[in-house]
């Protein structure tokens, strides 16, 4: 009944996976202005692609000045944590179809750290807190000639916190950290937890004492933002509470 050309066009429209999505990105360039502004980009994208693919399309085809970090593009390196639709996520692990592409997708830098340009922040204070909890194996005595053995149960005890990729999604989602950068933040506590509960490590006491400090675990207010934000599914808030419990039960 209809003309064949019409049918063909319609069929093509149905088979094309591409949809038009608006990326609303918080841009900041200190070489142009001291003010950060929202900028909209319309892009054609397959909803099964990721936010990172959209950022690539913009950077490669539309505006090469868009600045963001990414390295592995597969959720391993922890470079591309950003605030997408108000929630901290990895751009490389967030599918367009999962975050309602009908509305503009807002993308901004993670909060609580100095924005250097667009989505790039100064991670130094974050890594300073990480270094301050001594994130390395500490033992006494001579080095063994073979590997340090550990039972499966002992390994299981801290399995969850070994998964951290130091993306800072948790720390930069924490309202205590937003207002007071002296707080160690969830990521540092997670990485302390990884060694405190490691049966091979012998500096647990020392790390507990560091986190017993006024800017340590007692500042945690159990808002659970960190657990919600973690792209590795680590139960961050639980790990913090386990450190609190260890602090309370170790002497009494």
């Amino acid at each position: 009944m209809a003309t064949p050309t019409m049918d063909k066009v319609e069929a093509e429209a149905v088979s094309s996976p591409y949809i038009t999505v608006t990326f609303r990105i918080r841009r900041f360039n200190p070489e142009i202005s001291d003010a950060a502004v929202w900028e909209d980009f319309q892009i054609e994208i397959d909803p099964k692609e990721r936010v990172l693919d959209g950022l690539h399309k913009i950077k490669w085809d539309v505006d090469g000045s868009l600045t963001f970090r990414r390295s592995c593009a597969h959720g391993i390196c922890g470079s591309d944590a950003m605030r997408i639709n108000g929630k901290n996520r990895l751009a490389c692990k967030t599918l367009i179809k999962d975050i309602n592409p009908d509305k503009p997708i807002t993308i901004e830098a993670i909060k609580g750290l100095t924005v250097l340009k667009d989505l790039v922040v100064d991670m130094e204070p974050f890594f300073q807190a990480y270094r301050d909890v001594m994130p390395f194996l500490v033992t006494k005595g001579n080095e063994p000639t073979r590997e340090r053995l550990q039972s499966a149960e002992d390994r299981e005890r801290f399995d969850d916190t070994t998964k951290c990729i130091l993306c800072a999604a948790c720390t930069s989602s924490c309202p205590v950290f937003w207002n007071d950068g002296q707080y160690f933040g969830p990521a540092a506590i997670v990485n302390a937890h990884r060694f405190i509960f490691d049966s091979r490590d012998e500096a647990g006491e020392q790390r507990l004492e560091i986190l017993n400090d006024k800017d340590g675990v007692w500042r945690c207010r159990t808002t659970f933002n960190c657990t919600d934000a973690c792209p590795r599914g680590i139960e961050v808030t639980k790990a913090i509470q386990e450190v609190k419990r260890a602090l309370i039960t170790r002497r009494f």
Partner: protein, 157 residues
Amino acid sequence: MSAETPSAIGAVEGAAYGPDNPAPYIEPPRKRTGRTPRSTRGNFEMAAWLFMRLSGVVLVVLVIGHLLIQLVLDGGVSKIGFAFVAGRWANPFWQVWDLLMLWLAMLHGANGLRTVINDYAERPNTRLWLKGLLYTATVFTILLGTLVIFTFDPNIR
């Protein structure tokens, strides 16, 4: 967007930011550096955290009991008067009850506000003044309340 490009804003305000003269960064409050002091106040934070929970449990009983007696039972709020207070404080049990409630609620509330100040006040001077005010008000209220409970005179006129 095109109507207010960043460069247009810069031109209007006359602040010529450029590669040689970049805009200042906005630093986060009290950010951690290599010079951040290590361990400082021993177990005080842990004691404060524990106290909040323990005093909270006791306060549930004290406060709910207090509200029931004052506002619900036996005629409700309309019965409260000088004679009612005098009658209750004649009994050492209620004296101890009110004293405990005063001390726990004040210390609990003050420690809670101390946390709030730690969370929200950024500049060292603001923190100092707010905490000074808080501790002064707390000490004053606790001392005055304690004094009244122990020296209350039902025959005053």
